[in-house]
């Protein structure tokens, strides 16, 4: 029997679609689930992020702006701010260059030991910063491997600027490379090969093809690297020696002031650090917005 005859004698009633639509899309979760998950996330963020951040600013301004500004204008604080900016100014360009070289080597070339190199680049993420600091003390400190030789030649690395820069570099060098390697791997080598086949030299290919393709990722990595370079505590703490007005960076200065019960001063400097971080984040967000606006062309 042909199926068209089934309904011929008695037309079936049209199904009723009167039930309330459960969700905008078939695979969407019910509203209460969304509300629960979202409020859990927001609640958690408020508790561990926004509350402490607000607390920093509140404590800093507890006695008005005067004492807070006073604490920042303190010569030791000024020196800590200068040192922090100097360390970042040395570390970030170096790590940007290193990250570019490393990711270019890893993503665009084949060589033995590549997996090992990638693991090495990740090392600072897995090693405690305190250990990183200790390594430099053991190598360059007075009792370290090169200690006697360095003392003999009057070179000071540990408890001085070079040590702080080295420790910061160690902690921050994966940031740019980690940002760029997946990006460059995803882009492959087709465009570079196309440029080469059209007669472009290696340098021209890098400047005109590779670099424009990775510029946003590079900027992003640099910003993250910068944020970490300014905020690093553990590794720097070990190699700095905490000499006030000389080898104290901002995070170290915050700790010193706090230990001296100078809460307003400690929170004022901490608030300044937070502001630097927030500026970085705003820049990062602006970058992302810019990227999505230009995304079609990038």
């Amino acid at each position: 029997m042909s199926p068209m005859f089934i309904s011929a004698d008695k037309p079936r009633p049209a199904p009723e679609y009167t039930a309330a639509r459960p969700a905008a899309r078939p695979n969407e979760d019910p509203a209460w689930v969304k509300a629960l998950v979202l409020s859990a996330v927001v609640g958690f963020l408020v508790l561990v992020l926004i509350l402490p951040l607000a607390c920093v600013f509140a404590e800093a301004l507890k006695q008005g702006t005067g004492p807070a500004l006073e604490a920042i204008k303190d010569p030791d604080a000024i020196s800590a701010i200068k040192l922090t900016l100097l360390v970042a100014a040395i570390t970030v360009p170096f790590n940007a260059l290193f990250g570019l070289c490393a990711s270019w080597a890893v993503a665009k070339h084949q060589f033995p030991g590549k997996a090992f190199l990638i693991t090495l680049i990740d090392l600072p993420f897995s090693v405690s910063p305190v250990v990183a600091g200790l390594i430099y003390v053991l190598v360059f400190g007075a009792q370290g491997w090169f200690g006697p030789w360095l003392i003999e030649h009057g070179i000071k690395i540990v408890f001085a600027l070079p040590g702080i820069v080295l420790a910061t570099m160690f902690v921050t060098f994966p940031f740019v490379a980690r940002e760029l390697i997946p990006l460059m791997q995803e882009q492959g080598v087709d465009e570079e090969e196309a440029a080469t086949s059209m007669g472009a030299s290696g340098l021209v290919t890098f400047l005109r093809v590779t670099a424009p393709n990775i510029r946003w990722g590079l900027l992003y990595g640099v910003l993250l690297c910068n944020a970490r370079a300014m905020g690093e505590f553990g590794a720097v703490s070990v190699v700095s020696g905490h000499i006030r007005g000389l080898t104290d960076t901002m995070p170290l200065h915050v700790e010193i002031l706090y230990n001296e019960y100078n809460y307003v001063g400690a929170f004022a400097v901490a608030a300044l650090l937070c502001l630097l971080a927030i500026v970085t984040l705003v820049l990062k967000t602006a970058l992302e917005v810019g990227q999505s606006v230009h995304g079609r062309h990038v």
């Binding site: 086949s197 007669g199 005109r208 424009p212 393709n213």
Partner: protein, 346 residues
């Protein structure tokens, strides 16, 4: 530009991608490198472009050895499978790239470059789209940009890697004709890689068929199709029924089927029979089979049959020769021509 490839070997690790390849590409011809995936056709193309260097052998451009010449020095135009357009540049900038990056002494003036770009965009029928970015173009348009970009440097050789692989069937067909037109207009020696035999046979002046890193046959499409040099070519180019059997006393036998086998050494052999080399036979002539299905393609009837032993045989002949054959009925078939190849043991 004549291209000569002599005894080229290339391996990736232990895996031999090219094995003693020899090939002569004539000046101004359009040659297809046809083969299944993993046959080494793309590797051969990249060796010609200078994007891979062979372990042994020679690549000559017009008699000049370029085996280890840098890709940038070879003056080849290369069109990549995924086009590899520069995403951050406009179409015009993409096309101009090869001229823009020349050293100041060899670089044409800005006006000349702009004129050349306009000329090329006209050639690939994209006039007026120079200001667009690649992401604003369709797949077919991107392919045309890639072609224009490769041609901008006036290459001695144009190389295309699976040029139509990423396009849908309709666009593919029109671009095929387009490529032929552009080839005829520019006269540049062109080599393209494809796994699609129809594409190779339709577009190319000559076809080189690769299998497992070796060239099985080089010839005009008709020749490759009508006189396949090996069992692989016969099975890969065009459709064929494959029968396994034996050659004895100058005849190939496989069940009820017999065909003359002049000049074929006695022993195990396989026969490749094109569906259109099987015709309806008069009763008592040829062999009988049971019809499983009849599919009509316009004036042609494709008849899927099965022999009494279970061997399926597909025939394809004129509709009027059906003589009332029906599904489940018996037909008499006659083989006009078979390609016989001894079975190599091992």
């Amino acid at each position: 530009m004549t291209i000569t490839i002599r005894a080229v070997d290339k391996r990736f690790g232990r895996y031999p991608a090219l094995n003693n390849i020899g090939l002569e590409v004539r000046d101004g011809e359009l040659l297809a490198l046809l083969g299944p995936s993993g046959s080494g056709k793309t590797t051969l193309l990249r060796v010609i472009a200078g994007l891979e260097f062979p372990e042994a052998g020679q690549v000559l451009f017009g008699g000049q050895d370029v085996t280890y010449a840098h890709a940038a020095a070879r003056q080849v135009g290369f069109v990549f499978q995924q086009y590899a357009l520069f995403k951050h540049m406009t179409v015009a900038k993409n096309v101009a790239f090869g001229l823009d990056v020349r050293k100041a002494a060899d670089r044409p003036s800005k006006a000349d470059i702009a004129a050349r770009v306009a000329e090329l965009l006209k050639l690939v029928e994209l006039d007026g789209l120079g200001g667009r970015f690649p992401s604003q173009l369709s797949g077919g348009q991107r392919q045309r940009v890639a072609l224009a970009r490769a041609l901008a440097v006036s290459p001695q050789v144009l190389l295309l890697d699976e040029p139509f692989g990423a396009l849908d069937a309709t666009v593919r067909k029109s671009l095929r004709r387009e490529l032929r037109r552009i080839h005829d207009a520019t006269g540049v020696t062109t080599i393209f890689v494809t796994h699609d035999q129809e594409e190779a046979l339709e577009l190319a002046d000559r076809v080189a068929i690769l299998n497992k890193g070796q060239i099985e046959q080089v010839g005009a499409p008709q020749e490759v199709h009508d006189n396949p040099a090996s069992a692989f070519v016969c099975g890969f180019v065009g459709e064929a029924n494959r029968l396994v059997g034996e050659v004895t006393q100058g005849r190939f036998r496989s069940g009820a089927i017999q065909v003359p086998a002049p000049g074929v050494a006695p022993g195990a052999a396989s026969a490749y029979i094109r569906p259109y080399d099987i015709v309806a036979g008069a009763p008592g002539e040829g062999f009988e089979a049971t019809v499983r299905r009849i599919v009509l393609h316009g004036p042609v009837a494709r008849v899927e049959t099965v022999l009494d032993g279970g061997q399926p045989i597909e025939a394809s002949f004129a509709r009027e020769d059906l003589n009332g054959a029906v599904q489940g009925g018996r037909v008499t078939l006659k083989i006009k021509q078979a390609h016989l190849f001894p079975v190599v043991q091992g």
